[in-house]
Amino acid sequence: MSTLDPVAVFRTEAAECLEAIETGLLDLTHQLDNRDLVDAVFRGLHTLKGSGAMFGFEALAAFTHHCETAFDRVRKGEVAATSELVAAVLAAQDHMRALVDQPDADHGDTGHKLLAQLQAAVGAKAAAPATVAAPVREASTKKTRNSWRIRFSLPANSMANGTNPLGLLDELRDLGECTVRADTSAIPPLDGLTPTELYISWDVTLMSEQDRSAIDDVFIFVLDDMELSVEEIDGTVAATAAPAETMPVPAAAASAPPPPVPAAAVPEFRPVEAVPVKREAPAASQAKAAENVRVPAERLDELMDRVGELVIAQSRLSQLASASTDIALRSVSEEIERLSGELRDTMMVLRMVPVATLFSRFRRLVHDLARETGKVIELVTEGESTEVDKTVIERLADPLVHLVRNSIDHGLEVPADRLAAGKAKAGTVTLSARQAGGEVIISIKDDGRGINRERVRAKAESSGLIHPGQPLSDPELLQLIFAPGFSTAAAITNLSGRGVGMDVVKKTVEELRGAIDIVSVPGQGSEVSLRIPLTLAIIDGLLVRVGTGRYVIPLSAVEECLELSLEEDLRSRGRSFISLRDSLVPFLRLRDLFRTGTKPDVHQKVVVISTGTERVGLVVDQIIGDHQTVIKSMSKLHNDVATFSGATILGDGSVALILDVGHLVAAGQQQEAQLRVAG
């Protein structure tokens, strides 16, 4: 499920919309009678208003409404498009841009001035207040049980228009007990019957606690054309509507517009050139628009799949060619290897989007949180142009929201406390992104009070996560906050406790094959860093062999490879620990895990993998080497197999499973814990 933020999409769209409006207006100054341009500008304004109102940009919607109304009148031929109208809307358009960028700033004065200019241009007396709020239905508090007799017949063609009388009857049944009787007397003989028409009318007795308006609600879409009578059963006729009038009457202003005012009559006439508008902008933006093509994400996914298959086919070809003595074949194979490699790299870049799209939504969040908490917060974003795979960005959105909330709710102090601690009144939250090798590091830093170790320890002890007084290193202590259900908030506030905990954040990050680190200095603040792979589709893997099967270990998790000497192998039997530079590392014998029947190799190898702080060794028969892996997800049937995160196809066409590092490390740790308990 996409978690793309509609507000962020709206901002992008609003910018495009405004550019289109500006281009349209500028073109219109040269051809005032061009209907297509008028329509285009109207549509732009209309979309901006509609979407603006939907996403909480009320000021923008209300302001744009006036410009839209003006252009609607031009469209309907009620007023002429004049250069001063165009000028007024051009100026207004800059104001709209400001309303999109800073919806909460006070733009009142500028707005009024621009509107006066606009009204003068269309010759209207005063601006009618924009009504952008949805109509509110009056709530009924009546809870008495009524009996109704409802008789209705629908227009003969209503089924063709998608009205389903059975649906209407179902809705009536939802209101209470119903007795439905169909009146079929109007059905004509077979030769006169049109199968798509409706000849039946209904007589319904309804016992309901709902009032009359609930019944009208059922018929709201058909009320105009149908015959409907609703009577209270005790004999009083509640209402008879046939046909009812529910459509709002068009506003008087719209039905009786003032005549167009000739340009000369407008006193505030201003030559177009005097309006401060960037003339270069539209041309530049047009050029920019042509350079960018919007492609649905699923098409990119399809392309990615194809490239993946190509890479697999290519590695099969390489394998065949290397076994062949045909020079021509080998040279073609090398050529294709190069091309497919380049194609793969280009493909990866296509899916990348700047994290700016992710960061931009936090301005509003921080703004709202500042208001809720009474804290003064400054949001700093860094490295917004860093690019990350689109799917990664989407999946990171919720965890980041949680982390930012945490920073603000738990981390930052209220202004009084900050001043008392000798800090600036305003707390700073820094969101930053940077690329490091094949990973992107996204960090959320605050200059608040830092994580309170005593409280974390007390909480962990009280909830049984650790033994009282159990010695823990600082990183281990901080890792505790990722335990499920762990929260240091003394009281669950409005901000925290929304169902997303740090455990969910950690899980999401690990699902992305990433890692999470926390640094926190008491009194100085905390920094949470998420290390995320650049892409999910292709990884560098270490190809290993266990028995006759081949497996891929993600290279980013591999720390080192060692030989498991025969004596060490024998010595470690039953203990499953190897000593690695004075520290004991638990290990898992993949042969046992996969129940491999064949004899182990004489020189078994240990691949040490890690997830940040935890390390586990994996015993394999042979390390084959580096392998660039196109990840294929496994079938639904195999989704529950936690040991593997996916599959890939090797050069010879056989399948290798990709090991899930997080799961294996957890399994190793568990094994270690069991052995400790067993003594």
Binding site: A61, V132, G167
Partner: protein, 122 residues
């Protein structure tokens, strides 16, 4: 009870909101960016419901509804028309063209689901 819904709107943000709302409610959603694309999409597969905006480039919602209703295969497919508060007379025209119901913009996602359920007869 997953119904296939076609949503036609030139605004990406409205499309996104509609899509998210309806997919969360368990429907599968196909998107089109204007009436002409909507028409092509509707001809290409069968939808249980169409939700359309009015003002769109290339082909507006009203024309699309009229064109759809000319197609025998589209008879009986409910069409919900998204209007803004100023489109009162358009609501009547949309009805005449063959729209089943309407929703006033800006719409409340909950309301959209309610109306979709109503029109689909759940």
């Amino acid at each position: 009870m997953s119904a296939n819904i076609l949503t036609v709107d030139d605004s990406a943000s409205i499309r996104l909101t509609t899509k998210v709302t309806l997919t969360n409610a368990g429907y599968s959603v196909t998107e089109a960016v204007n009436g002409a694309e909507g028409l092509i999409a509707a001809k290409g597969s069968s939808f249980d419901l169409i939700v359309t905006d009015l003002n769109m480039p290339v082909m507006d919602g009203l024309t699309m509804i009229e064109e759809l209703r000319k197609l025998p295969a589209q008879a009986g497919v409910p069409i919900i028309f998204l209007t803004t508060e100023s489109d009162a007379d358009l609501k009547a025209r949309a009805k005449a063209a063959g729209a089943t119901g309407w929703l006033t913009k800006p719409f409340d996602p909950e309301n959209l689901v309610k109306i979709v359920k109503k029109v689909l007869g759940r």
